[in-house]
Symmetry: C2
Subunit: 323 residues, 2 copies
């Protein structure tokens, strides 16, 4: 069975790459940027070159469709590098190609806040896709960078689907019909994404999910079933959103970035950010097999599980990435 | 009579500083950035240190209210450095204070397009002031950087006035009641700006003005009169928007920045940007005296002319800049 993780923000190390290999994960989209600026981001890619070199027995960088096959042939974990924000671009269209050459293959248009491209999920008003955003979508389509609509506002998301000539993904989210939160995805957007050949990676981050850390395996399987009933069996996958091995300070960084000065007056949501307790059946990447077993017991057919656990993401990436 | 130019984007040189002195200009807000990123902008401030040093017999950098007095005492032209965009900040709140220390004293929240702070005038949908934008306004108020609402969308502008604890300016625009254009300013926003103690600098850039290059001196004086009748005699000034000595390529840079790739398919507005012919009575900064004479002939009282030509801008800057 092919296993693909639609998004993962582990604090990477050889130990973590070994965990991926041991868990028989074929492909992972790894988030490498949240609020970093252009120069900081070039350094992040440099760091990843080192990871790829030092762990070449375990992992391989995925830049093309052929690389996906290569990872399979060589029995290595394919790593797709992506950003959860567009901050490194900073209104400079040409930087997209510069970063594409570094290996950028997935980019969220925005992370919670308004960007110069689109509106984030926690903003009150939605500008939809901006003048620059329209150019960015064209350029991402041209280069072969997947458009990720996680953390976006609803209207911006709908317009992005409409404007993109290639299918878009939502690497990690949960349907609003399951848990009503600004961060989650509307049924309307789920349908739009599916109708254009895109994919939703169901998140395993407790704060996204109904009942949070207490969500049972059975409840999660029911959520998969309900999501499939809206989007179809070919348009749903997993996006674990695992943040393994990061201290709480990293969660504060994710929430506040550089845009918010944390002071005495700042809301505790920002000031006292603490990682949520994981669900008992999904504490680390190896637990993906608990989920697979659970799905089997829940009644999913093998063919369905194969699509949901990996084949859908592989088909999606093969459609979007350069040959 | 005190003369203040609310915004000027001349291609500066000693010759141009001499023109300012000869025209008896007391204070100029100089635009130094449109689309430049953080590093490029630090270099722009470095360039200005050189200008101040090499032309210290003519010009002086204005960072405080005392500097305004100092310029007067020493008989020099005071230069206030500002940006027509927020691109150098790039979602990093702390950069505002870094640039304040370089001398930044005026910042537009956006230039034509959506920024991460507010919506530009040429966007179709207005997000109003964003989460980050609210932090930026607080920080600009705290530091003493004037908030400039030129090139902004109407709803964003109205919310900025409401959120700012200090009066805001619109350094260069024309009322929509005179010329209906997305770039110009609504009566509603004019009234809001005035009601909070702010100022509108009437633009002398032909493309903003009714009848463009053919606008007569008498027509322009009538426009001043009409603007005063909406905002009051204390809230109107001049913002010449002179772009003296720049080649057409600079106009293309202003319009396209880094956000638009110019190709065969690009609209001529972007591709074939050509500076408009100036109005016959306002070709260069020295022609400000044509305007003063014209206003006198039109029937403005001397006391009114003094406010409109300089005292209003001085009062505004004294309210906003650090002591």
């Amino acid at each position: 069975m092919k296993i693909v993780d639609g998004v993962n923000y582990t604090n990477w190390s050889r130990k973590q790459f070994e965990s991926l290999k041991k868990a028989k994960v074929n492909l992972v989209h790894v988030s490498v940027v949240y609020w970093e600026d252009t120069n900081e981001t070039f350094k992040v890619f440099k760091k990843w070159e080192k990871y790829f070199h030092e762990n070449k027995d375990l992992i391989i960088k995925i830049e093309t469709v052929s690389d996906i096959k290569k990872a399979e042939t060589e029995g290595k974990v394919g790593i797709i590098l992506g950003w959860q924000n567009s901050a490194p671009i900073n209104s400079d269209l040409e930087l997209l190609e510069c970063f594409f050459k570094q290996g950028l293959r997935v980019m969220q248009l925005t992370y919670n806040n308004q960007s110069d491209i689109a509106t984030g999920c926690y903003e009150q008003n939605d500008s939809k896709i901006t003048r620059f955003g329209k150019e960015v979508i064209k350029e991402m389509n041209r280069l072969g960078i997947a458009i990720d609509l996680s953390h976006i506002n609803n209207e911006s998301g709908l317009e992005a689907v409409e404007l993109s000539k290639k299918p878009v993904c939502v690497s990690h989210s949960i349907p609003i019909f399951s848990k009503n939160s600004e961060r989650n995805i509307s049924t309307e957007l789920m349908k739009a994404v599916a109708s254009k050949g895109g994919i939703l990676g169901l998140s395993l981050y407790p704060l996204h999910v109904k009942n949070g850390s207490d969500c049972t395996l059975n409840e999660y399987c029911k959520l998969i079933e309900e999501t499939v009933s809206v989007m179809g069996i070919d348009h749903v996958g997993i996006g674990s959103d695992l943040c393994t091995d990061h201290p709480d300070s990293v969660l504060q960084w994710m929430r506040c970035g550089k845009w918010l000065k944390v002071s005495e007056e700042t809301d505790n949501y920002f000031k006292k950010a603490i990682w949520p307790k994981p669900m008992s059946w999904f504490k680390e990447i190896g637990d993906i097999h608990n989920l697979i077993d659970g799905m089997r017991k829940y009644g999913f057919k093998n063919e369905e599980i194969e699509k949901l656990m990996g084949l859908n993401w592989i088909r999606y990436m093969e459609t979007v990435l350069p040959k």
